[in-house]
């Protein structure tokens, strides 16, 4: 591209100042305007004559509007509900992944329901109850490790702690899950509380993973816990009749659930106390 030839004539500081102040008459103003279209030098000379604060204000407004156009529908919806900008951004990024986790859980649950009503066994429901807690565990730890997170850099630079981000995200997963499960319990009364049984194991696995993750590498902890959970479930139900699987696994019994709740609470306290170490480990080990 050839550079634009610079005209020999220039508007000059006084004429430009008159023009910007609106004190140049129409014809002189017209001269300046025609000239400005072709002269980058004089355009640049207008900048110091204008109100910087006003220019910055307009730029901020433009930035906001451009940002709003780039945000996801989820984020725009949260804006409308009055959720602050930065919170909405942190929660919404990666929401597509979380929607697919949720859909996965919902589909697995429905499949389990249908299969079990065919043969009257508990095989599919049990498989669902064992598999369901693994998904949030994997989802949460991966969102904490920032490996697959488009917002990773931004989060590490933000004043918000990784813990807070995690909690906000966990809430967005938990709330809709609870609604789905509650609806299922109402629609299929014979299940009773069965569909809810995976929630406490899920909470326990995830919080324990985070607590241990403050000492050991999070990825290894996640794998160990996930595998341990599946192995424990299959050992507990070895040789059990197919119609009576769920009750065989202590984790799904009232006493077992109580233990899981206690472990979860301890783990949450540990995570809360060690969250500084935790933030540090995040960035150091998994980046």
């Amino acid at each position: 591209m050839t550079p634009t030839p610079i005209p020999a004539w220039h508007a000059g500081p006084e004429l430009l100042a008159d023009y910007v102040a609106g004190t140049a008459n129409r014809t002189r103003a017209a001269s300046v305007e025609t000239h400005l279209l072709r002269c980058a030098e004089c355009r640049a000379a207008v900048a110091p004559l204008t109100d910087t604060e006003r220019l910055e204000g307009n730029l901020a407004a433009i930035t906001d509007r451009v940002d709003l156009e780039r945000i996801s529908p989820v984020e725009r919806f949260m804006h409308r509900l009055g959720v602050p900008h930065h919170v909405a951004r942190v929660v919404a990024v990666g929401s597509a992944e979380r929607v697919s986790w949720l859909t996965g859980i919902a589909v697995a649950f429905l499949v389990a329901l249908v299969f079990d009503s065919f043969d009257g066994s508990e095989t599919s429901m049990f498989a669902f109850l064992v598999a369901a807690p693994i998904l949030p565990l994997a989802g949460v730890t991966s969102s904490i490790s920032f490996r697959s997170d488009p917002l990773g850099e931004l989060v590490t630079a933000a004043p918000t702690t990784a813990m807070k981000v995690f909690l906000m995200r966990a809430l967005t997963v938990l709330a809709p899950t609870l609604v789905v499960v509650a609806a299922a319990s109402v629609l299929v009364p014979r299940l009773g509380l069965q569909p809810v049984l995976w929630l406490l194991p899920s909470l326990c696995l995830t919080s324990t993973a985070l607590a241990l993750g403050s000492v050991f590498p999070l990825r290894i902890v996640t794998w160990a816990l996930g595998t341990g959970w599946v192995v424990a479930a299959s050992i507990a139900t070895r040789g059990a009749p197919r119609t009576d699987l769920v009750d065989r696994f202590a984790a799904f019994e009232p006493a077992g659930q109580l233990v899981l709740l206690l472990v979860s609470l301890i783990a949450i306290v540990v995570v809360a106390q060690r969250r500084d170490t935790f933030d540090f480990l995040d960035l150091g080990r998994t980046a």
Binding site: V20, G22, N25, S31, L36, L37, V46, L59, I62
Partner: protein, 174 residues
């Protein structure tokens, strides 16, 4: 994108979604655009909105610059139309302030004269209403309808004033 980048470079980068380039383009062009818009409308709030609309429009469609002519002229084309859109939304807008005639130094007179020759004195002989129409149609390149919206007068009036201005200018330059 540093200072060395041309406006065309910036537009190409904006088309790739580069936000820094939009900022750079803004810093380069917003000052004179604001000044020129202020000459068309004396409500700073409307001018600010029109300026914002302009850069949002550029962000959305940077490729509508066809590569012909000055980027600055293309930007002004967008800006003046966004101003007209803003004015259309507020019927109660106050019309453009008539420019005050100020004492021109001899030096400036010569400089301006060098650029436009006899035209400047010819334009000066026109009434403010006629100058406004010439400005909108010739200088800003607006259509009759667009000029009518900007000046808040009927389209027929724009046409009749334009033909009167043409006759007077021809006489003055003859």
């Amino acid at each position: 994108m540093g200072d060395a980048a041309t406006d065309e470079d910036l537009l190409a980068a904006i088309a790739q979604g580069n936000r820094q380039s939009l900022d750079a383009l803004y810093r380069r062009h917003a000052p004179w655009l604001t000044a020129r818009l202020a000459h068309r409308c004396n409500d700073p709030e409307v001018v600010d909105l029109a300026l914002q609309d302009t850069f949002v429009a550029i962000w959305r469609k940077p490729r509508s610059y066809g590569g012909r002519g000055e980027v600055a002229a293309w930007m002004w084309g967008i800006a003046v139309r966004r101003l007209i859109d803003q004015l259309r939304r507020r019927p109660a807008h106050t019309p453009v302030a008539s420019a005050e005639v100020v004492v021109v130094s001899a030096e400036e007179e010569v400089l301006v004269g060098l650029q436009h020759g006899g035209l400047i004195s010819a334009l000066d002989s026109l009434s403010p209403e006629l100058v406004a129409v010439v400005q909108a149609t010739v200088l800003d390149g607006l259509s009759t309808r667009e000029a009518a919206r900007l000046l808040q007068i009927p389209a027929g009036t724009v046409k009749s004033r334009m033909s009167r201005a043409r006759v007077q200018l021809r006489e003055a330059l003859a």
